[in-house]
Amino acid sequence: MSSITATGTIPAAEPAEKNYLNVTTTFKSWALTHDHKRIGVMYLVTIAIFFAVGSLMAGLIRAELTSPTGNFLESETYNKVFTAHGVIMIFWVLLAAVPGILGNFVIPLMIGARDVAFPRLNLLSYYFFVGGGLLAIAAVLSGGVDTGWTFYVPYASLYSNSQVGLAVTGAFLAGFSSIFTAVNFIVTVHKMRAPGMTWFRLPLFIWSAYATSLIVVLGTPVVAITLMMMLAERTLHIGFFSPELGGDPVLFQHLFWFYSHPAVYIMILPSFGVQSELLAAFSRKRVFGYHFVAFSSLAIAVLGFLVWGHHMFVSSQSMYQGVVFSLITFLIAVPTAVKIFNWTSTIYKGTVRLHAPMIYAISFMGLFIIGGLTGLYLSTMSTDIHLTNTYFVVAHFHYVMVGGAITGLLGGIHYWWPKMFGKMYPDRLAQITAIIVFLGFNLTFFPQFIVGWLGMPRRYHYYYLEPQFQPYNIMSSMGASILGLGFLITGGYLIWSLKFGAKATSNPWGAHGLEWTIPSPPDLHNFPTTPIVTDDVYDYEALDAAGLSGGVVAPQGVS
C-alpha cells in the first residue's frame, strides 16, 4: 500500500503488532521519550493527579461553607485552600489539559505527521510543566499561599506572609511550558501537514489549537514578566506596583488581565475544537458552516486581547476605558454565538448516536450556554457593579471552565481513549456517569448564581452576617458531592478499561479522519508511509458511500 487517504482504506491492523505503548518498556524510554503520543499520555497522568489535588481542595471549600461560621478550618487555612484550588486548577489543569493531552496525542495524527515539529522541545515543555507543578505543590506543603489565584498587589507583594515566591515561580515555569507547546503546534500546523492536507481540510480541532497557540505566544510572556516584577517587589523590594514604593496597583491588574482574559480562551478554545469533532463524528455529518466555525476561533483569539478591562470595571480604571472594554466584550459574544448555532445545526438531519462522548457534547452545550450568557451580566457594566466579586462570578466561571472546558476535555478523552490505549470502556456506564456529572454540576453551581445575586462576596470564609445564604450553600455542597462521585466513577472505569476493557478496533466510532485510519493504539511512527489526503474533512457521505459505516455504528468490542 503506497498511500492512505482519510477515508480509511486500511484494514484493521494485526493485533500482535508492537505499538507506541509497548515498543519499549523501560522507565527511561518513557521519561526521555520524544514521541508525541507518549508525551500526551504523560500529560494525561500528570494532569489527572493535579486535578485530584485541586478537587480535594474544592471538596474542602464546599465542606467548610455549609455553615455560616465555618466548620473546621481557620480563616487563614481557608484562604490557602481556595488559592491552591484556583492556582492548581488554572495553571496545572486547564491551561495545559486539552493541548497537553489531546493536542499532543492527536494533532500529528490528524494532519498525517510523524511527530510534532520539535519533539525535544515538547519533552522540555512537559518537564517545565511538571517542575512548575512540583514548586506549586511544595508551596502548598510548606505553608500554602493565601493570595487568591489573581496575585493582586500590594497584598501578594508586600503583605502576604505565605509562600508566594514558590507558587509564582511555578506558574512562571508552567507559562514557559505552554509557550513551548504553542510554538511547537504553530510550526507543526504550518509545516508538518501531509500532502493534500490543505488549510480547509484541517479538522476544526486543529484550527482551534492553532488559535489557542497564537494567544499563548502573544499573551503568556506578559503575565510571566508581570509575575516576575511582582516577585522582585516582594523579595528584593524593587518597587513596581505598590504605592508605598511609588507604584500603581491598578497597573498590575491591567497587565495581569491582559494575559488572563485571553487565558480563559486558551482554556475554552481547545474544548470548542473537541466539541466540533464530537458533533461531526456522532451526527455523522459535516460540521455546519465549517469556515465560520474555523474563523470564529481566530476572531475570538484576536478580540480576546481587547477586553481585559471587563475584570476591572470598579477597580478605578477610567470610566470611558470601561465603556470601550464593555463594548468589545459584547462583540466577542457574537463569534461564540456563531459557533453555538452552527453546532446545533450540525445535529440537524444527522444520524445521531448517543455514545458517551456525544452525551458530553450535549451537556457541554447546555452548560456552556449558561456560563456564556451569564458572562453577559458581568459585561453589562451596571449589573457588574453589583455582581463583581460575588458568587455570581464564581458560578459564571465554573460554568464555562468546568461545564465548558472540563466537559469538553472529558468528551475528548472518551472519544480518543480507544485510540490512545486500544481499549474500550463500558459505554453505558459512561453515559450514565456523564448524566450524573451534568446534574451534579448544575446542583453545585446554579445556586451560586442566586447567592451571588443576593450579594454573597467570593473568597468568604464566614457569612454569619447573612445566614440566609446558608440553604444555597448547602445545596451547592450537596451538588459537589454528586459531582465528585461522578468524577470518581469516571476515573474508575477508565482505569478499569486499561486492563479489562474490550479491545478497540482502529475505528470504533466509524469516524472520519486520519487518526482513525491507523491501528489502535498507533504504531510508534504513526503512519507506515506519509499519507496523502484526497478527500474533504468530515466527508461522511464519502465514508458511507464507500460502505465504511457498516459495522461501526455501535462501538466495536462493547458488549
Binding site: 487563614e76 484562604n79 497584598y155 508586600l158 503583605y159 504605592p243 508605598e244 500603581d248 496597583p249 451526527s283 460540521v287 458552516g289 465549517y290 465560520f292 470598579v314 477597580s315 478605578s316 470610566m319 470601561g322 463594548l327 459584547f330 456563531v338 448555532f341 445545526s345 445535529i347 440537524y348 438531519k349 444527522g350 444520524t351 445521531v352 456525544m358 450535549i362 452545550m365 450556554i369 449558561i370 450568557l373 451569564t374 453577559l376 451580566y377 453589562t380 457594566m381 451596571s382 457593579i385 453589583h386 463583581t388 466579586n389 460575588t390 442566586i450 443576593l454 450579594g455 462576596p457 473568597r459 468568604y460 470564609h461 464566614y462 454569619y464 452576617l465 440566609q468 446558608q470 444555597y472
Partner: protein
C-alpha cells in the same frame, strides 16, 4: 434554613434602575439559552440513529443563516451594552449637592467619617434616606472593596488613590456592608451594617455625636455612655495592665491593695467611678482618674451614672446588649475565637488604629491615609 430568598432587597435608587436590566437580561438569556439547548436535545433525539426522520438534502453552509444569527445576537448585545454603560456612567457621576462621607479601609475594618459633622464610626454607616451620599474612599494598606448589596453599589478601595462612589438610599432599614475584594486573613469579617434612617433620625443621631437616637433602654444608654467615655480603653473583656475586667463584676467579692474586701454592688461601682482611689483593686495602681458628677463635657451626671451602673451589671451576662449601633465592632459575634474581645478595644477612637496590628501596618511609613483625608475636608 428552609427559606430561599430569590432577590436582594432594593434599598437605593440604583437598585430600581439596575434590577430591571438584570431581569431583562435574565428573560433574554432564559429564552434564547433555553431554546437553543432544547433544540439541541430535540435534534439529538429526533435524528437519533434508527428513527425515521427526513434526512434528505442536509446543508453544510448557509450564508443567510450565518448572517442572521450573527446580527441578531449582536443587536441584543448592543442594547444591553447601551443601558449598562449609561447606568454605569450615572453611577459614577455623583451629584454636586451630595452629602460627603469619607471611608478608610484597612485590614480588616472600615473607618468612616461624616464630613459635615465630623462624626466617626467603625464598621457601620449611618445615612439619611432620600439624600445623595458621596463616598470618598482610600485604603491604608491593601485593596478592599466597599460593597452594599442592597444599594447595588460596589467600588474598589485602593491604596494611594481616592476612589468615589455614591448612592441615594430609599428605604429605612438595616443593610449589609461587606468588603468584597480579597484582602487577607479576615477578609470575610471586614464588614458590618448600614443604617438607612429617616432624615430626622439621622439629624438626631449626628446631634448625639453618633449615638443611637432611638429610644434606648437604660442598659443601652449606659452602653452608649460607656463607649462615649472610652471606658473600653482600660476595661476590656479580660484583665489587662490598663485595668481589671468589669465582666461579671457585679456581686463578686473584691480584694483591695490594703487587704480589705468588699462585695461589688451598685454603690461600690458608683464609688469606683466617682472616687476610684477610695478602694484600689489588688494588683493595680491608681491610674483611673475620678469622674466628676455634672452635665459639663467629660462629666458623668447622676442620671447617666444610673445607666452606666445598670450597663456594667449586665457585662458578661446574657443580658448584655448586643446593639450593633453602639459601635460596629461590638457585634457580639466574634467567630474568630483566637482574639476574643479584641474588637472592643479598637472601637475606642475611630482613628486610633495605630494601636492594633503593627505588623499589618509595617509598610505605612507613618503616612496615615486617614490624616490625608482629614486635611482634605
Amino acid at each position: 434554613m428552609g427559606n430561599f430568598p430569590l432577590a436582594p432587597p432594593q434599598a437605593s435608587e440604583f437598585a430600581h434602575q439596575i434590577d430591571p436590566l438584570f431581569y431583562a437580561l435574565t428573560a433574554v438569556c432564559v429564552f434564547f439559552g433555553g431554546i437553543t439547548f432544547l433544540v439541541v436535545i430535540y435534534f439529538s433525539l429526533r435524528y437519533k440513529r434508527g428513527t425515521k426522520a427526513d434526512r434528505s438534502n442536509p446543508k453544510h453552509e448557509h450564508l443567510p443563516l450565518e448572517i442572521s444569527w450573527s446580527i441578531f445576537p449582536l443587536i441584543l448585545a448592543l442594547v444591553f451594552f447601551w443601558f449598562g454603560a449609561k447606568q454605569f456612567i450615572y453611577a459614577k457621576t455623583p451629584p454636586k449637592d451630595a452629602m460627603e462621607i469619607y471611608v478608610v479601609g484597612k485590614q480588616w475594618m472600615w473607618h468612616i467619617q461624616h464630613a459635615e459633622s465630623g462624626v466617626r464610626e467603625n464598621n457601620t454607616l449611618h445615612v439619611p434616606i432620600g439624600r445623595p451620599v458621596k463616598l470618598t474612599m482610600i485604603s491604608q494598606d491593601v485593596l478592599h472593596a466597599f460593597y452594599i448589596p442592597e444599594f447595588r453599589i460596589q467600588y474598589h478601595v485602593v491604596p494611594g488613590r481616592y476612589t468615589q462612589s455614591w448612592f441615594t438610599a430609599t428605604k429605612p432599614g438595616t443593610y449589609h456592608l461587606f468588603c468584597a475584594m480579597y484582602c487577607g486573613t479576615q477578609h470575610s469579617e471586614m464588614g458590618g451594617y448600614v443604617y438607612a434612617m429617616k432624615p430626622d433620625d439621622y439629624a438626631q443621631w449626628i446631634k448625639n455625636g453618633g449615638n443611637d437616637p432611638q429610644p434606648q433602654t437604660l442598659v443601652e444608654r449606659g452602653g452608649s455612655i460607656y463607649t462615649k467615655m472610652a471606658c473600653e480603653g482600660c476595661h476590656t473583656e479580660k484583665d489587662t495592665i490598663h485595668g481589671p475586667s468589669l465582666y461579671s463584676l457585679y456581686g463578686k467579692t473584691r480584694r483591695f491593695t490594703d487587704g480589705t474586701t468588699a462585695v461589688a454592688d451598685d454603690a461600690y461601682i458608683r464609688e469606683s467611678i466617682y472616687k476610684p482611689d477610695a478602694k484600689i483593686v489588688a494588683g493595680y495602681i491608681d491610674t483611673m482618674s475620678p469622674y466628676v458628677s455634672g452635665t459639663q463635657p467629660g462629666a458623668i451626671s447622676e442620671e447617666d451614672m444610673l445607666a452606666l451602673v445598670a450597663y456594667i451589671k449586665t457585662l458578661g451576662t446574657t443580658n448584655m446588649p448586643l446593639d450593633k449601633s453602639l459601635s460596629g465592632t461590638q457585634r457580639g459575634v466574634t467567630p474568630n475565637s483566637k482574639v476574643p474581645g479584641s474588637a472592643r478595644v479598637t472601637a475606642v477612637g475611630a482613628l486610633g488604629f495605630e494601636k492594633d496590628n503593627p505588623e499589618a501596618n509595617r509598610l505605612r511609613n507613618g503616612k496615615p491615609a486617614v490624616g490625608a483625608l482629614g486635611s482634605e475636608n
